[in-house]
């Protein structure tokens, strides 16, 4: 067991623990923050494995953008600030989820461990350097790269389109009684859901 492995194990434990906390915490903000820790330590793992650029992109995109998006979404959807058990689904659902999770872990770990066995690999950091990755991306992977940019564009447009408010027609404001009052949070389900 050399130093690399020790570092790896430490980071792995950190990743696992923070991931677990991220999915089981009762406060939404804590979830987001634990997610940051998790993703950050994953970047560390990538470094250990010699993938420098991947670690960098992970930090930039995941931690920098995705988590921020998540936090923004939490804000916009008025997520509860206080500790709330309402974040979790019912016990039956959670049991099934746990079962699914454990099952998946077991299957994957079983097959992978059986496949990998005791083999070891050498980690070379120059394989993950910016130069080699750049050469690879703009060399062999240029077409998927371009497609990816199209994908990003599509996602951008889609997100815009979805989240635009539906346009109101320019009709004179009729004195008819609307079926429901325009969206007031008062109607709601929120108190109902409290009961659950």
């Amino acid at each position: 067991m050399n130093g690399l492995e020790v570092v790896f194990i430490g980071l792995a434990v950190l990743t696992g623990a923070s991931g677990l906390l991220a999915v089981t915490s009762f406060r939404v903000v804590h979830c987001a923050l634990w997610l940051v820790v998790c993703l950050g330590s994953l970047a560390g793992v990538y470094l250990v494995l010699g993938a420098e650029i991947v670690a960098l992109v992970q930090l930039l995109v995941y931690v920098g953008a995705v988590v921020v998006l998540v936090i923004f979404a939490l804000m916009l959807t008025r997520a509860p600030i206080e500790a709330s058990r309402r974040l979790d689904a019912g016990p039956g659902q959670r049991g099934a989820a746990a079962l699914a999770g454990i099952g998946l872990t077991a299957v994957l770990a079983g097959t992978l461990v059986y496949a990998f066995g005791d083999s070891t690999v050498d980690v070379q950091s120059d394989r993950g350097s910016a130069e080699s990755i750049g050469l690879a991306v703009f060399g062999g992977w240029v077409l998927p790269f371009e497609l990816l940019s199209v994908l990003l564009l599509a996602a951008l447009i889609a997100a815009l389109a979805i989240s635009r408010p539906t346009p109101t027609p320019t009709t004179p404001k009729t004195p008819t009684t609307s079926k429901t009052p325009t969206p007031t949070p008062a109607t709601t389900t929120l108190p109902d859901r409290e009961a659950r």
């Binding site: 689904a89 659902q93 099934a96 989820a97 079962l99 699914a100 099952g103 998946l104 077991a106 299957v107 079983g110 097959t111």
Partner: protein, 663 residues
């Protein structure tokens, strides 16, 4: 010639039945025409057959429906024409013709909405019955005989229940069918036993093999006793006699044809046909004789206390058929001579009983009721009818020199000879026969005295003379326990509109058959002067004849002296309890109800309950299971997207594990 004649006796009435239904379905005159033409032509064919057989001898195998190959057996559905079949065929055809002619008037008009006559169906069924009876008579094979036997049972059921709008008629028809069915099972099993034991069902072969001793004793005894069961059922002998009094629910001409002259005689006919079989195994004949003796005396006693004319005649039929059966049962010699007395009584009974029933039908038509209490004074109001009725009663009682006297005394003589030859059966039959002679005279005289003598019913004289005294006695019997009377019977309902005594004129179609039937009733004895081979065994011993005649006349006189007691009915001399018992036919019905009907119904209820709760439960469980399963599965539809995703992932994990493990 003989072959075609025999065939035609069967085919012509059957055709008349079909055509009568097809063409006469809507039109009464057509239906009537076809019916009468059918029976007339059957009569002609039967007479031709008789003449030919007497001249040329019998034909033992006439192809009819070919052969049926059943593996190792081969059943030939052939007919046979001999003296026995020809004679009985003539008797059947004569009675059928009389009945058809009579019915055109009896069931005239469309009837009332509560009691429609439905004449075309009726006439066709009577023709069908005639064809079936002819088939039984002419059949040369037991299987063919069974076919005709069952067809007769069907026709009887249809005709007894003809007025099916009445619940009592339906019940009576069902009872007749079921009770005779029990007997028919015996015939069926006998056929099976014979097929197994003698490898054939041909009557000629069986009788020959029985005479030669080629059939095993067990087979003989079993088949003989089983056939006897069928005989008891069809001929209404104890203990399967209970259907006959109730079968009087049918129209009176039906009673005349089926339940007096022909079908009930078919059982006796069967024994006569299979006589060699019975002679080879004497135990069966002894059983038959005992049954006959019991039926003879019991039915005659019951007839004494009946308050309904048709039921009286029904019990009388049971008694007389027992005479026939006894006549055959005391046979000691083999061959044709042995059945002489029984068959002779069959023929004379056909004549006088048909005459009696048709005359009774006329009386019912006039009076509008079948109850004896409503009748009286016929001699004054309708002399010709009364005289004919009296002739029939005289034949029944065996008054010399009518045909009935000769036939009855022939039976008693045969019994006497058998008794003196040492057989105990002969003694039983002789004593029972003598006793029944007395009783027959009694009830015949009773019927005459009530119906014909005295003042007309409902008139002032009747009210003064003593009818009221009689009424309480009859009334008591009726109120003691309700039993199936025919009041107001189907006949009564049909003819109630004519209930104005003394004023109605009977149509010629109803009177003519009576005259026709009176002839053989009066003159059948003439045949004995030069009898054919069939009746060569018939002779009357002087002592027996005189004794029998004395007893009958004594009975008649005693019954006709009843008015000195205050009422025309001799039965009031009986104590009330006895009278009620006799009226009820010795409560045999109640016994059957308790022993058989109730257990069967209980078993039926058990089966029904088992079917509902055991077998049907599985069927009913199917939708319940489906519904419950569906409701359970419904719970999985929570609507929560992640719940569905959970199911997905779990499923994928299971498949992955399966794939990994199996790979």
């Amino acid at each position: 010639m003989i072959e075609s004649a025999a065939l035609l006796t069967i085919v012509l009435p059957a055709t008349a039945a079909v055509l009568g239904l097809a063409m006469g379905g809507r039109s009464r005159p057509w239906a009537g025409d076809w019916a009468v033409v059918g029976s007339l032509s059957a009569l002609v064919a039967a007479v031709v057959e008789l003449v030919q057989v007497l001249r040329h001898g019998p034909v033992t195998s006439i192809g009819f429906l070919g052969r049926v190959e059943l593996g190792t057996f081969s059943i030939g559905l052939d007919l046979r024409a001999d003296q026995l079949s020809a004679t009985v065929a003539v008797a059947v055809a004569v009675v059928a013709l009389c009945v058809q002619v009579y019915s055109t008037a009896y069931l005239s008009g469309p009837g009332t909405p509560e009691a429609p006559t439905r004449y075309p169906a009726y006439a066709a069924t009577v023709s069908l019955f005639t064809a079936a009876m002819m088939l039984v008579i002419h059949s040369g094979d037991l299987v063919l005989l069974l076919i005709g036997w069952e067809a007769m049972g069907l026709a009887s059921y249809l005709l007894v229940g003809h007025h099916s709008e009445r619940a009592s008629a339906r019940a009576a028809a069902m009872k007749a069918f079921l009770v005779t069915r029990v007997g028919d099972l015996g015939v069926l099993f006998a056929v099976v036993v014979l097929l197994a034991g003698a490898q054939t069902t041909s009557i000629a072969q069986i009788t020959q093999a029985a005479t030669d001793g080629e059939i095993g004793h067990g087979t003989l005894l079993a088949s003989a006793l089983l056939l006897l069961g069928g005989v008891a059922g069809k001929s209404a002998q104890f203990p399967l006699h209970t259907w006959l009094p109730d079968a009087m629910e049918g129209p009176t001409p039906v009673s005349a044809l089926i339940h007096a002259a022909t079908m009930v005689a078919a059982g006796v006919f069967l024994v006569a046909r299979m006589l060699p079989l019975y002679l080879a195994v004497p135990g069966a004949l002894q059983v038959a004789a005992v049954i006959a003796a019991i039926s003879m005396v019991g039915a005659a006693l019951a007839a004494l206390a009946q308050d309904d004319l048709k039921r009286l005649l029904a019990y009388s039929t049971i008694s007389q058929v027992a005479y026939m059966l006894a006549g055959v049962a005391v046979t000691q010699a083999g061959g044709v001579e042995g059945i002489g007395p029984g068959i002779f009584h069959l023929l004379s009974h056909a004549a006088f009983k048909a005459l009696l029933f048709l005359a009774a039908g006329c009386v019912i038509h006039l009076v509008g009721s079948t109850m004896l209490a409503d009748m009286g004074g016929l001699l004054r109001t309708h002399r010709a009818l009364a005289v004919l009725f009296g002739i029939g009663l005289a034949g029944l009682a065996g008054v010399p020199p009518l045909g009935g006297f000769w036939s009855k005394e022939a039976v008693l003589t045969a019994a006497d000879e058998a008794a003196h030859a040492g057989s105990w059966v002969g003694w039983v039959v002789l004593l029972a026969g003598l006793g029944t002679s007395l009783l027959t005279g009694l009830y015949a005289g009773r019927a005459w005295s009530i119906v014909a003598l005295g003042p007309p019913a409902g008139s002032l004289e009747a009210a003064l003379v003593g009818a009221p005294d009689a009424l309480p006695a009859i009334g008591d019997a009726e109120t003691e326990e309700p039993h199936e009377t025919l009041a107001p019977g189907a006949d009564a309902a049909l003819h109630a509109r004519h209930a104005a005594p003394g004023t109605h004129h009977l149509p010629a179609a109803m009177m003519l058959p009576l005259y026709l039937l009176a002839i053989p009733t009066l003159t059948l004895g003439v045949v004995l002067i030069n009898p054919p081979a069939l009746l060569s065994g018939v002779h009357v011993d002087l002592v027996t004849g005189v004794t029998g005649a004395m007893l009958s006349l004594a009975g008649l006189g005693w019954a006709m002296s009843a008015p000195r007691l205050g009422a025309p009915d001799i039965a009031i001399a009986l104590p009330d309890g006895t009278r009620a018992l006799l009226l009820d036919g010795f409560r045999v019905d109640a016994v059957q109800q308790a022993l058989i009907v109730r257990p069967v119904l209980a078993l039926a209820r058990v089966v029904k309950a088992a079917d509902w709760s055991v077998i049907d439960a599985y069927v009913r469980a199917v939708p319940i299971t489906a519904r419950t399963g569906g409701n359970l599965l419904r719970r999985a539809q929570t609507g929560l997207a992640t719940a569905y995703a959970a199911w997905l992932v779990l499923g994928a994990v299971v498949i992955a594990i399966a794939g990994v493990v199996l790979a």
